[in-house]
């Protein structure tokens, strides 16, 4: 469970977050949707504990990030905007490095790595250096790395960016699998169709505020006869004007 209450964050003169609140439940995929610059990334970076909010609170699994970020990070996996793999390390070494930093014992680390390489179909490139990986391979390895410690919560910043159709489909399947395991998945996107096909809960962010939230079904019922994209454009436009 991820809980966000009244987050404010200012970078110089730019107000990135202006009181964002939402919840992302366990066993659900929650989509943080909004145009570029709406504050999605800032919000995810606060949840990933690399930024601190000016005001407001954020909890991950009931742990207040301001009080005990280190503990919150133990149940948190992060897939950053760009994969951030080490080019001179192999896929296996990239995954193992994070496993060791999570403090996994060697036997468990080996088992988890083997398991993830198999599940994400990375066997062929497991011992190749990340330097030559395709975008899809990079994303997969980064995802395996984020899952190495079996986290309850997963944050993904625009995960389908740069992926081809097949890779995108695979990614969706894995995310559904994680949901079925009862995990809390929070992803950001600016692509309406992608979110529509995948998420259980939608949080539309614009100009640092939550413009609209609910399940896709809810939203469709509240705005009858309109497509999700039209609803999105209206919500974003309204917030932009205000």
């Amino acid at each position: 469970m991820i809980e966000v209450d009244g987050l404010h964050k200012q970078f110089g003169a730019v107000r990135a977050l202006d009181g964002v609140s939402f919840r992302a439940g366990d066993g659900k995929i929650t989509g943080l949707l909004g145009p570029n610059g709406a504050g999605k990334s800032t919000c995810l970076r606060i949840l990933a504990t690399v930024l601190e909010p000016d005001r407001g609170t954020a909890r991950i699994g009931g742990v207040d990030l301001a009080a005990d970020a280190l503990r919150a990070r133990r149940s948190l996996g992060v897939l950053p905007h760009s994969s951030g793999l080490y080019q001179n390390l192999t896929a296996r070494e990239n995954i193992a490095y994070y496993g060791r930093l999570h403090g996994l014992p060697p036997a468990e680390l080996e088992r988890r790595t083997k398991d993830l390489l198999e599940r994400l179909d990375l066997g062929a490139i497991a011992d190749r250096r990340a330097k030559g990986f395709s975008q899809g391979e990079r994303t997969k390895v980064a995802l395996a790395r984020a899952l190495v410690h079996n986290p309850q919560h997963l944050l993904l910043d625009e995960p389908t960016n740069g992926l081809d159709v097949m890779a995108t489909r695979h990614l969706r399947d894995w995310l559904r699998e994680l949901r079925a395991q009862g995990r809390c998945v929070l992803l950001s996107s600016h692509v309406m169709q992608e979110v529509d096909a995948l998420v259980d809960e939608l949080v539309i962010v614009a100009a640092g505020r939550v413009a609209l939230a609910g399940t896709p079904g809810d939203l469709a019922a509240r705005f009858p006869g309109r497509s999700l994209e039209e609803i999105f454009v209206e919500a974003v436009g309204g917030a932009g004007a205000a």
């Binding site: 970076r45 990933a48 504990t49 690399v50 930024l51 601190e52 280190l70 503990r71 990070r73 133990r74 948190l76 992060v78 950053p80 905007h81 760009s82 994969s83 951030g84 793999l85 080490y86 080019q87 001179n88 390390l89 070494e93 490095y97 994070y98 060791r100 930093l101 999570h102 403090g103 250096r129 980064a142 790395r145 984020a146």
Partner: protein, 394 residues
């Protein structure tokens, strides 16, 4: 904390070992010092040896006016070779200024007339002082002409019945106490410069790559979402940098030890006495400056935006510790307690002492080690403080 530090350190070392660019520049740095040093020493040896023994050819204008002087010079291996293509001092000056001749000795027109009288007979040496090579030769010619004059003067006094001692009321004797190794110290002082440089530059790539480079490649942010303290991560990076610095120092010392044994130091009347014990002590004396270098480089690179920017700043950092060494060499600074507080200068003075074959003063060594380590710890602490800031993400 320790486990995190070691994991980060191990990974940074592994990654650097796989970076061809880093390894090539490391090896290049290793070989550069001994190579430059070998060339330097060989040139010095050649110059000194040739100045003392080689026949020296000069042009003498009006040689026929002073056959005895010319014969005297010849006995001293200074030969009149070429026929002059000029007729007077001005012509000779023009030839030397144009670089056609190195040295011209002009025997005055009146030489033969003046020589027999109480008038001083004139001889003019035309030279170019701005040429280093010419200076040692001119010295030889001057010495020979002076010696000839002395000899003639002494003979004349004897002939007139006076004691030649009358002309020498005072005698200055020089008594040189420098040991052969001591004389080589000035040259070998350059050694500390290379050793300090090799130590610091050994960690250069890793210090930049693990901080500014990591941020530039966007792998820093996910790293900071792991349940580890930033202090442990940063200390791990510093330790890896330190590791490469110490390896670089050890390899450079080994290269020097190997190449010094093959350099013709004995021809200079010097013994370098750079044995295994000296090499090990030198290593021990220089090591304490490595943590300071690693901390300072990591600190600066952490707040540079890109690899290139960090490289620019750190090039200056590489120069900072070499400056006291340069001044100390030029001004011939002697080891003193108050200088042992200054990192790099203290290492230079201690290593110079070692090379001279003199005993180290324990309290000096202690001060040098303590001050370098303390400053390193301070800069390291500052770096971990600053690493907690959001600005680290750029």
């Amino acid at each position: 904390m320790i486990a995190t530090l070691l994991t980060v350190c191990r990974k940074e070392i592994l990654e650097t070992l796989r970076e061809r660019r880093a390894i090539v520049s490391l090896l290049f740095g290793l070989l550069l010092g001994p190579a430059v040093f070998a060339v330097l020493i060989n040139v010095v040896v050649k110059q000194n040896v040739s100045a003392a023994e080689d026949p020296l050819s000069i042009v003498i204008l009006g040689a026929e006016r002073a056959p005895n002087l010319v014969a005297f010079l010849k006995a001293r291996n200074i030969h009149d070779v070429a026929q002059p293509d000029f007729a007077d001092v001005d012509g000779a000056a023009a030839a030397v200024a144009a670089g056609q001749r190195d040295l011209v000795l002009v025997i005055d027109d009146q030489f033969a007339d003046d020589f027999g009288t109480e008038q001083a007979a004139r001889v003019t040496l035309v030279l170019d002082r701005s040429k280093n090579r010419t200076m040692s030769r001119a010295q030889r010619v001057r010495g020979a002409v002076d010696a000839y004059g002395q000899q003639i003067g002494t003979l004349r006094l004897l002939a007139s019945g006076a004691s030649p001692g009358l002309l020498r009321p005072l005698v200055l004797d020089e008594y040189d106490v420098s040991t052969p190794a001591g004389r080589s110290a000035l040259l070998l002082g350059v050694l500390t410069y290379f050793l300090l440089f090799a130590t610091l530059s050994g960690g250069l790539h890793l210090a930049i790559d693990s901080t500014a480079g990591e941020r530039e490649r966007k792998s820093l942010e996910p790293l900071l979402t792991l349940p580890v303290s930033r202090t442990a991560v940063l200390l791990g990076k510093m330790t890896a940098t330190l590791f490469f610095m110490i390896v670089s120092l050890a390899l450079t010392l080994a290269a020097f030890k190997f190449s010094l044994a093959r350099m013709p130091l004995d021809q200079l009347g010097m013994s370098s006495s750079f044995g295994l014990r000296t090499a090990l002590l030198t290593f021990a004396v220089i090591c304490p400056i490595a943590p300071l270098g690693a901390a300072l480089m990591t600190l600066i690179a952490s707040f540079s935006k890109t690899y290139r920017e960090a490289q620019t700043y750190l090039t200056f950092v590489l120069l900072v510790p070499t400056m006291p060494v340069m001044f100390a060499s030029m001004l011939n600074v002697e080891p003193a307690r108050k200088l042992m507080w200054i990192p790099s200068l203290s290492q230079h003075l201690l290593v110079t002492t070692l090379i001279k074959g003199q005993p180290l003063v324990p309290s000096y060594v202690l001060l040098s080690v303590a001050s370098s380590l303390a400053l390193g710890a301070l800069v390291g602490w500052l770096a971990t403080r600053l690493y907690q800031r959001e600005a680290i993400l750029g």
